[in-house]
């Protein structure tokens, strides 16, 4: 996995064509609501691997 692959997958999942331009204040004001964090932790715990179809 490379950073480029992560970025490409992220843009694809979000249906974006480029990275949004944000400044620091955008991120600092943001508080992650409890339900979003709970959703994130649930996904993170779901460790089952997906069998890749080989090469």
């Amino acid at each position: 996995v490379t950073e480029e692959q992560i970025l490409s997958s992220l843009l694809q999942q979000l249906h974006l064509s480029e990275v949004p331009v944000l400044d620091k204040s955008d991120a600092e004001e943001l508080v992650t609501p409890a339900h979003v964090r709970a959703q994130y932790m649930a996904l993170l715990r779901r460790r089952h691997g997906v069998r890749s179809r080989g090469k």
């Binding site: 999942q13 944000l22 979003v36 994130y40 996904l43 080989g54």
Partner: protein
């Protein structure tokens, strides 16, 4: 035929009789644990046809002296219903005799997906004439295979050959030994690889979680199978160390919604390596058995 609703459909009625037989193979202890099935071969012994019958056949049906042999995997489901999957099919000459081989690897793959080691492998073998014809041609009956005997002693008894690779030798070794540097002789293993998102320009102020994650990667080499095995599949590439099982990566990103920024969870597929394995380019990918 004279209905006002349907346009008349003309057709020909073809006789397609077939002789069918069910082969039952016990699979208990047939596949060693921690092994990979490379190929399963069904060998059937075609019995010689009496000369007189051949001559009669040649007179009555000079056009075709071949029969089609079809092998299907039969699955009997819990509710008693059953279904079949076409596995292999090929033409044999009515006048020939001797061992005929059919590739039934896919049938064993299906059987493995049932995960019921005590259940036998059921193979349905059908024989019918190559050319379906208006005559009720029963020459397919001349093609006869030696059948299974409970005692299993008869010469020509159907054989199921299973070719496997021992994964202790030809597979991956799990996680790499963190003490041992990865080098030429390292056998395929999963090595820790950390992806730092905090230090990544494009993720700044956009990706809120995680700051980074353990992605892992598959490193090392795989033992190549013996020549005898690879010579049968010339198109098969060398066995390589690849990610055989992956997991997705959830991230929290800051998204624009109604003029405001809001945190949102997104799941990125195939971002974390769970298992490494050895596989060949060009190896057939087992069909998934649909429920």
């Amino acid at each position: 035929r004279f209905s006002q609703n349907f346009r008349e459909v003309a057709g020909r009625f073809l006789v397609s009789e077939a002789s069918t037989r069910l082969l039952v193979f016990s699979m208990e202890q047939r596949l060693p644990p921690n092994s990979e099935l490379v190929q399963a071969v069904l060998r059937l012994f075609q019995e010689p046809v009496p000369e007189a019958a051949l001559r009669r056949h040649a007179l009555l049906s000079p056009r075709s002296d071949r029969a089609r042999v079809t092998v299907e995997w039969l699955q009997i489901r819990d509710d008693g219903s059953n279904r079949t999957f076409l596995i292999d099919s090929r033409l044999v000459s009515v006048g020939e005799s001797g061992w005929k081989a059919f590739d039934v690897t896919e049938a064993v793959n299906f059987w493995q997906q049932l995960s019921r080691p005590r259940e036998p492998l059921l193979l349905k073998v059908s024989v019918q004439m190559e050319h379906l014809g208006p005559l009720a041609s029963s020459f397919y009956k001349l093609v006869r295979f030696a059948s299974q005997r409970p005692s299993g002693t008869r010469q020509g008894e159907p054989q199921l050959e299973l070719h496997t690779l021992d994964l202790r030798e030809f597979g991956a070794q799990g996680n790499c030994d963190p003490e041992a540097p990865v080098g030429e002789g390292t056998r395929c293993c999963r090595q820790e690889m950390y992806i730092d998102l905090q230090g990544t320009k494009w993720a700044e102020n956009w990706v809120l979680e995680p700051p980074g994650f353990l992605a892992y990667e598959c490193v090392g080499a795989c033992q190549q199978p013996p020549e005898a095995l690879t010579s049968k599949w010339p198109l098969l590439g060398p066995r390589q160390c690849i990610a055989s099982e992956t997991a997705s990566l959830p991230v929290i990103v800051s998204m624009e919604e109604g003029g405001r920024r809001r945190p949102q969870v997104v799941s990125l597929p195939n971002m974390r390596v769970q298992k490494c394995g050895c596989a060949s380019d060009g190896a057939p990918v087992p069909r998934k058995l649909e429920p």
